[in-house]
Amino acid sequence: MSVTAEQVTFWVFAIPLVATAIGVIVSRSPVYAAMNLVAAFFFLAGIYVLLVAHLIAFMQILVYAGAVMVLFLFVIMLLSLGDEHLIKEPRRAMQLIGALGVVLLVAVLASAIAQARTGELATLTADFGTVKAVGRVLYTQFLLPFEVTSLLLLVAIVGAVVVAKERI
């Protein structure tokens, strides 16, 4: 079996992706977790490019690794938590029950993947995943959800200000 370039690239992105994702949940300091999450988002953007989703890969880096993670880091700095917040370990029983739940969920997902009609890959048009093609779908088939999303972002802006501000 010959190894294609796609397979090599997949593993080059997938292994660091899983490693940094595990780094998010094992690091006790929120700053280290945030840095691991930024790295995970970059590797995930690489996986998106392999799936011919160039626009979404670009937005992943722009919105997630850029905007959302800067927001997280600002809040971490704003709270200025001391070291006493880091030493508390989760309870052992909680970890065991959590791991059990995850194993059960992954088993369900495994059976779902086994039953999924994956089959042959479709042959793609030349403009698949480009800004033009995705934009056409967004502004025709998904016009109403697109407009509702703008409303959602407005509500989120106002809600964040109202909740976080001490006195308005």
Binding site: I97, L109, V134, A160
Partner: protein
């Protein structure tokens, strides 16, 4: 390359995120785990979009990114409000609605 590889990667990523949500007690790391789970869902959408050649999956992934941004903004505002009123972001210590 079969799309199962990507689905398995998404399942593992979702499992890691769920483990973080279930076991971590720091509210900030909890929210980062939720972001991981949202990204796993996005990866599944894009994998199936690649298999069927349908761009609707890309549109849904676009909306998921927008919703995740809104969720992060409001969720972090709630974390700031809780820290201001209780001086802690440990979710185990926040168990009553009013003081």
């Amino acid at each position: 390359m079969p799309v199962e590889y990507y689905l398995w990667l998404a399942a593992i990523l979702f499992g890691i995120g769920l483990l973080g949500v279930l076991t971590k007690r720091n509210a900030l790391i909890l929210m980062m785990s939720v972001e991981l789970m949202l990204n796993a869902a996005n990866l599944t959408f894009l994998a199936f979009a690649r298999r069927s050649g349908d761009l609707a999956g890309h549109a849904i992934a676009f909306f998921v990114i927008a919703v995740a941004a809104a969720e992060a903004a409001v969720g972090l505002a709630v974390v700031i409000a809780i820290y201001r009123s209780r001086g802690a972001i440990n979710v185990d210590e926040v168990r009553v609605l009013s003081e």
